[in-house]
C-alpha cells in the first residue's frame, strides 16, 4: 500500500459522511494517543473529530471485538482484511447484526509492522465491506508477499518442539492479554475463570501454562483468522500465536477450510463431511 496518508484521508471522509448523515453513532478506527505517537483504538462520535482517523502499518489492534460492546447501536468500523474475516465470524454466530454495521474495509493490506502473522497472510483484501479503501491486491501480489514463508516450528523434531514451547510458556504470567486481545475469546466466562469445573490451577506453573495455551489453541480451530493480535498483546513476547496459526494451516490443509470468509459459514468444528480426513488415526 503506497500512500497511507490518502487512505487515512479516505477513511476520515467516509467517517465524516457517515457521522454527518447520522448513518452511524460512532466510528471505530485507529488514531494517535494524546501523549504518545503510538497507534491506539479511537472511537469517533462527532464528524468534526473524524480527521483523527488514520491508517498505517502500526495499526496492529484487532478492532472487531469492540463491536460486541455496541450491540444494537449503529457503528462503523475500520477493518483490516483479517478484521473483516473476524466480522464475518461474528455475523455467522449472530453476535452482531449486519444491518447495524458499516464496514470500511482495507484492501491491499501490506501487513503490520512487527506482526509475524502478516508474513503468512494470504487474505490481503477485505472479504466483507460497505466501503473499501486502498488498492486491491492481486493473487500474484499476495503470493509475492508471503513467498518464502515457512513454519520454523514445523521443521523441528518432536523433542525440539516440546522444548521450544516449554521455553516459551515458562514465561507466561497468565495475564490473559492474549485472550483479551483476541476476537475469538468472547465467552461470557473463560474456562480459565471457571470454578466448576476447575480446568486449570491458579498458580502459574508450566504444566498448567502449557495446558492453557493448548486449550486456547483448540478453541482457535476453525475460528482464528490469524490476525496476530494475541502475539502483539503478549507482554512477555511469547509465541502465543503458534498454536492458533497451526490450527489455521491445518484447517486449510486438511479440510480446505478458512475461517471468516463468509457470513453464512459454519465454524470448522460445527460441521463435517462424511468423507472427512482421518489423519492421525490409528490404522
Amino acid at each position: 500500500m503506497s500512500n497511507y496518508d490518502s487512505i487515512s484521508q479516505e477513511i476520515s471522509e467516509i467517517a465524516k459522511k457517515l457521522l454527518k448523515e447520522s448513518k452511524v453513532d460512532k466510528v471505530i478506527g485507529f488514531g494517535l494517543g494524546r501523549f504518545t505517537k503510538e497507534i491506539t483504538p479511537i472511537f469517533i462520535k462527532k464528524a468534526e473529530d473524524a480527521d483523527r482517523l488514520i491508517f498505517n502499518k502500526n495499526c496492529e489492534m484487532s478492532l472487531t471485538k469492540y463491536l460486541l460492546n455496541y450491540k444494537g447501536e449503529k457503528v462503523a468500523i475500520v477493518a483490516k482484511p483479517c478484521d473483516s474475516r473476524a466480522i464475518n465470524a461474528y455475523l455467522s454466530e449472530d453476535l452482531i447484526k449486519r444491518e447495524d454495521l458499516v464496514i470500511i474495509g482495507i484492501n491491499g493490506c501490506p501487513g503490520i509492522e512487527g506482526n509475524t502473522a502478516c508474513e503468512e497472510c494470504n487474505i490481503r483484501n477485505a472479504v466483507i465491506c460497505d466501503y473499501s479503501v486502498g488498492q486491491e491486491m492481486s493473487e500474484e501480489e499476495i503470493q509475492a508477499e508471503i513467498e518464502g514463508f515457512e513454519d520454523e516450528i514445523d521443521k523441528m523434531n518432536q523433542a525440539e518442539r516440546l522444548a521450544y514451547f516449554q521455553n516459551e510458556f515458562e514465561r507466561c504470567t497468565r495475564c490473559y492479554a492474549c485472550r483479551e486481545a483476541c476476537y475469538v475469546c468472547n465467552c461470557e466466562q473463560c474456562f480459565t475463570d471457571s470454578n466448576k469445573p476447575k480446568w486449570l490451577g491458579e498458580s502459574v506453573k508450566l504444566n498448567d501454562n502449557f495446558t492453557y495455551h493448548l486449550m486456547r489453541g483448540i478453541h482457535m480451530a476453525g475460528r482464528c483468522v490469524n490476525c496476530g493480535a494475541c502475539e502483539m498483546a503478549c507482554p512477555e513476547g511469547i509465541d502465543v500465536r503458534a498454536f492458533a496459526a497451526k490450527m489455521c494451516s491445518a484447517a486449510e490443509e486438511i479440510f480446505d477450510y478458512k475461517s471468516g470468509m463468509d457470513p453464512e459459514q459454519k465454524t470448522l468444528l460445527s460441521e463435517y463431511k462424511v468423507d472427512d480426513s482421518e489423519k492421525g488415526f490409528m490404522e
Binding site: Q158, L162, K246, I254, L269, Y272, E278
Partner: protein, 155 residues
C-alpha cells in the same frame, strides 16, 4: 506396577457406550486378553468429548490416550462421531505440533462386534506408548517421585 521394572503406561481411554464400550465388553465375554494399562471412561458418544478433556488427561499425567467410537455411519446419535472425528484430527495436529509424541495419541473406531479388534487396538496403543516412555508432563518434570529423581539426576 511394582512387580516389574518395565515401564507400564497408564492410558486414559474414552469409549462411546454404544459401539466401542460394547466391543470392550465383547472382548470380555469372549475372554480376549489385553494389557491392563487402560482406564476406561464411558461416554454416551465420542461427540461428547470436548478436546479439553483429552488435553487435561495429559495435564494430569496420563501417559497416553485412547479414544474409540462407532465407525463413521454407525453413530447411535446419527453423526456425533463425525463431528468428533474433526475435533480429534485438529486436536491431534495441535498436540503433535506442541511436541506431544504421536504415539501417545490413539484415535480409532471399534464396532460393537469387534471385540477382538478392540483387544488388538489396546495392545497396539499400549505398545505405541511404551515406545515413547513415560509422559513427563507439559513441564517435563514428571509426575512421580521416581521421575523427579530421574530428572534431578540428569540436572
Amino acid at each position: 506396577m511394582a512387580d516389574s521394572n518395565e515401564f507400564e503406561p497408564k492410558i486414559a481411554a474414552f469409549l462411546c457406550t454404544w459401539c466401542s464400550y460394547a466391543a470392550a465388553d465383547l472382548a470380555g465375554s469372549s475372554r480376549t486378553q489385553y494389557p491392563p494399562n487402560i482406564r476406561v471412561m464411558r461416554v454416551p458418544c465420542t461427540g461428547r468429548l470436548d478436546p479439553f478433556l483429552i488435553i487435561k488427561a495429559f495435564n494430569m499425567g496420563a501417559d497416553g490416550i485412547l479414544i474409540s467410537g462407532c465407525h463413521p455411519g454407525d453413530c447411535h446419535y446419527l453423526d456425533g462421531n463425525l463431528y468428533a472425528r474433526r475435533r480429534f484430527v485438529m486436536l491431534n495436529e495441535l498436540m503433535q505440533y506442541a511436541g506431544v509424541e504421536e504415539e501417545r495419541l490413539n484415535f480409532t473406531w471399534c464396532s460393537a462386534s469387534e471385540g477382538k479388534r478392540f483387544a488388538g487396538v489396546v495392545k497396539k496403543a499400549v505398545d505405541r506408548v511404551k515406545t515413547v516412555g513415560p509422559w513427563m508432563g507439559f513441564d517435563g518434570q514428571g509426575f512421580s517421585k521416581e521421575e523427579g529423581d530421574l530428572i534431578n539426576e540428569q540436572l
